[in-house]
Symmetry: C2
Subunit: 509 residues, 2 copies
């Protein structure tokens, strides 16, 4: 009968219902082969756009049931999940617009030139085609926006690739529900239902990454899990691109001037950001560099008050709760660390309370010292590092791994001075992260064309983004046509531009 | 005193001179660290453009010495190498133009929108920054255009990255000469000489790919060598992008109509293409699907005549010569293979003669059968597969690995018919390769914006190109700035576009 897949209520730890069984190797193979048969039908861009818009509409039609299911499985709460559903529908429609516009095809046309030096040039016309079946590994912390109907799936379908989603075990019922909606959308626009297929099970996820017909993968999750799949993708006889978003500390630097001007505001803002969604965001600010001295003390004071006032909450699952409590305790137990607000058990049996710890930058100066404080602790905990001077600040930044985001809180004069220390700080932060923020908080990732949600390893395993319009680039590869008759060219590459897509012709956009 | 690096004359097999010694692990580390110090100075785009143009000028200034050195080490001949030098200078200047224009920065600007649904939008501005030090592994068969001053180096410098080149052992003297010119160019424009550093030695190449400060790598060479480096790049604690161009069969499909119309022209054209440069091109047509029957017989007859007339030539080195002779003999010895023109020793002691073999498509129908014929044989040999019908053709195409190119020779009516069998064939070939040609030959790779020199594995280890303007994309990653004051933004992202680069603002290019 197979290994059962249960939906579990994290508020009680109790099983809610058996949702499915884990996929066997044969079922993984069948799902991938079924998805592959949908590839030719997805070549039509207008059908893809309709698929994405239809899926958004179905998600909204069944919003109540989807949100209720997600809340029951994740304890993220109805307001947050209602917002997440709206964001997910918005992402699907945004990618429909991307498909319609066609700029993602990167059409470049160079006319022949028999007189070109050093050698004559042929007619060359290049655009991008879908890679093939894409495997998507859903995230724990966004049961919609980074899961079955999320940004990876939307960008994969927009690119013209069928998708096989590996459900996250934290929300299997929601996965089944939303996969059903995507399949319904496919059928509604005349595509095979298997344009989207769904799999459950850890072992199924491993089989999936090695399947010969899988051409690329997207992943959102932990460093160990993502790295294991990345390694498997690279070790295949035919390696495939693996776009994984793994982990991030999201450092925040508060300058002395910023602290002097806005200590309390920054302290409370930080508390709001690191406790948002019970700290279960990949963009949670996990390491905050605050100046020593009076202004920094006021910042920490405000943080203490706000962190104590923050409510306890239930984490996504029991294992995460144990890891969080163990991780918070281990950090609090380090010799030079102080604990103004201790993270720990909440009043409700399975809830946890947010907390933070403080350490002096001098303790982090030596390579290898306090490595644990430079690792992400998933959940409502942050680490404040007090620094005395720019050298100490720089020494800590030197030790940081890659990040999704890096934030600077600056004083008013710094923020208005080009070529000064603030500009140098932003360049430094840009080397550490894929998104640099000034006077803001990294939680909250806008879905726009200019967004970049990625960063140096381990933030991501590639140079790509998983949020924003350019996320579609991950699932495409260029093909150039040389001296090909007009009649045989794809419409996007023909003279007169019958497909109406942006073309860069003879170097002119 | 270190392991000596000798320049060898392939025409005699004799050592010419000791050029250098192989780099020790300490020297690799020193070269990478020296290169890394050049990163900040390369941030200035105008300096990069001047560097590339100055390098092109110096290469032309010393053309005679460079060509003489390359010819002495590779036996490729002065005319070919004179052309290759012109192409190399052209590539350098093309990338200078790419740097000046700035489209490669992919600037996207989204203004803030406090009323945006589902949530307010911040100000987001994204462009691309250099990855850091890049390792370039030079090719055997292009001592200039794909080696020290070649396309990888040009695109790396254009992107703003310092480069450490691992010289190919087939042309160490030319590598030293051209690295000196690049370093002279760097100093001439006010950059550190170590913007470009050079290493010799197999072991040094392995140390290089694992160096913590190396951020990406480019490679042109064999499948085993490239795969070993790819695996090492993926296995690092911090994996890095590895853009390798490894191997390609470059299938050619001749339709019955094309053979009926132009059998002799296709046969002689094929001979010219597979023997060009003694068959030492990554785009050599190595597998030709020709129809059975009379027209196909005429094609093969013309090929036989032209292949017999083709001159013998010296290969790049003695090991390559041995591999070629062994590979050609092994293919000729297969049971169902016939050998109209046998490849083998030439009249000159170290020369080889071109040849080709023929096999019936039915022999290739079974998976695993005659695998050897579906592997690249570097040197002047090609495999002609005679097919009886479209099903036989399709069965052979189904067995092919990824390729740099795939070519169709079509009849006049086919070439003018949309939505017919020729269009389907081109789609099929596009799934197999990164460049699709009609009625041409894949040798000869134009350096233009629309070029794509890459393809599904093993043609390349990524979805990128190593030729053409978009090759620069390999060495960049995006960074988004959120809510950053104008004074602190890079010039390319500011309002009013003071840097004068293409900007996509609010969705409008």
């Amino acid at each position: 009968m197979g290994v059962p897949v249960w939906s579990v209520d994290p508020r009680t730890g109790k099983q809610r219902e058996q949702v499915a069984v884990e996929a066997t190797a044969e079922e993984v193979d069948a799902a991938v082969r079924a998805a592959a048969t949908a590839l030719p039908a997805l070549a039509d861009r207008s059908v893809r756009a309709r698929l994405l818009r239809t899926a958004a509409g179905l998600l909204e039609r069944d919003a109540e049931a989807v949100v209720a299911s997600a809340d029951a499985e994740t304890a993220l709460g109805v307001p947050r999940l209602t917002g997440e559903l709206a964001r997910t529908a918005f992402q699907l429609r945004t990618f429909a617009d991307v498909v319609d516009e066609g700029a993602f095809l990167d059409v470049i046309i160079d006319h022949p030139d028999p007189d070109a030096k050093p050698i004559p040039r042929p007619d060359l016309r290049r655009y991008k085609i879908p890679l093939g079946v894409v495997a998507v590994y859903a995230a724990s912390n966004f049961p919609l926006a980074f899961s079955v109907p999320g940004g990876d799936t939307a960008s994969v379908l927009a690119a013209g690739c069928p998708v096989v989603v590996k459900a996250h075990p934290d929300h299997p019922a929601t996965s089944v529900l939303t996969a059903g909606l995507l399949r319904e959308a496919a059928v509604a626009v005349g595509l095979p239902a298997d344009t989207v297929t769904l799999l459950h099970g850890f072992q199924a996820g491993i089989e999936l990454i090695s399947h010969p017909l899988v051409a690329a993968a997207g992943f959102t999750g932990s460093i160990p899990g993502g790295r294991a799949l990345f390694d498997a993708a690279a070790a295949r006889p035919r390696p495939i691109p693996f776009h994984g978003e793994l982990g991030s500390l999201n450092p925040v630097v508060v300058t002395p001037a910023a602290a002097a001007e806005r200590a309390e505001q920054i302290g409370t803002g930080l508390a709001g950001s690191f406790t948002l969604g019970n700290g279960q965001f990949c963009t949670k600010p996990g390491l905050v560099l605050a100046p020593a001295g009076d202004a920094g003390d006021r910042l920490v004071g405000a943080l203490t008050g706000a962190a104590r006032d923050a409510s306890a909450g239930v984490l996504l699952d029991g294992r995460m709760r144990e890891n969080f409590l163990r991780g918070a305790a281990a950090r609090a137990a380090l010799p030079a660390v102080t604990v103004p607000v201790a993270a720990g058990d909440g009043d409700d049996p399975l809830a946890v309370r947010p907390g933070y710890v403080v350490v002096d930058a001098s303790e982090l100066a030596a390579p290898g010292a306090y490595d644990l404080l430079l690792e992400e602790c998933f959940g409502p905990l942050t680490v404040v590092v007090r620094y005395g001077d720019p050298e100490q600040l720089g020494a800590v930044l030197d030790r940081l791994p890659g990040n999704l985001t890096a934030t600077a809180h600056l004083g008013a004069e710094e923020a208005a001075t080009p070529d000064g220390s603030a500009a140098a700080l932003l360049t430094r932060l840009g080397a550490l992260a894929g998104r640099v923020l000034v006077n803001g908080w990294p939680t909250g990732v806008a879905v726009t064309a200019a967004q970049h949600h990625g960063g140096p390893y381990p933030a991501t395993t590639s140079t790509s983004t998983s949020v924003g319009a350019t996320a579609i680039e991950r699932w495409l590869r260029p093909v150039a046509y040389q001296d090909t008759p007009q009649a045989l060219l794809p419409a996007e590459l023909r003279d007169g531009n019958p497909a109406g897509v942006p073309q860069r012709v003879q170097g002119h956009p």
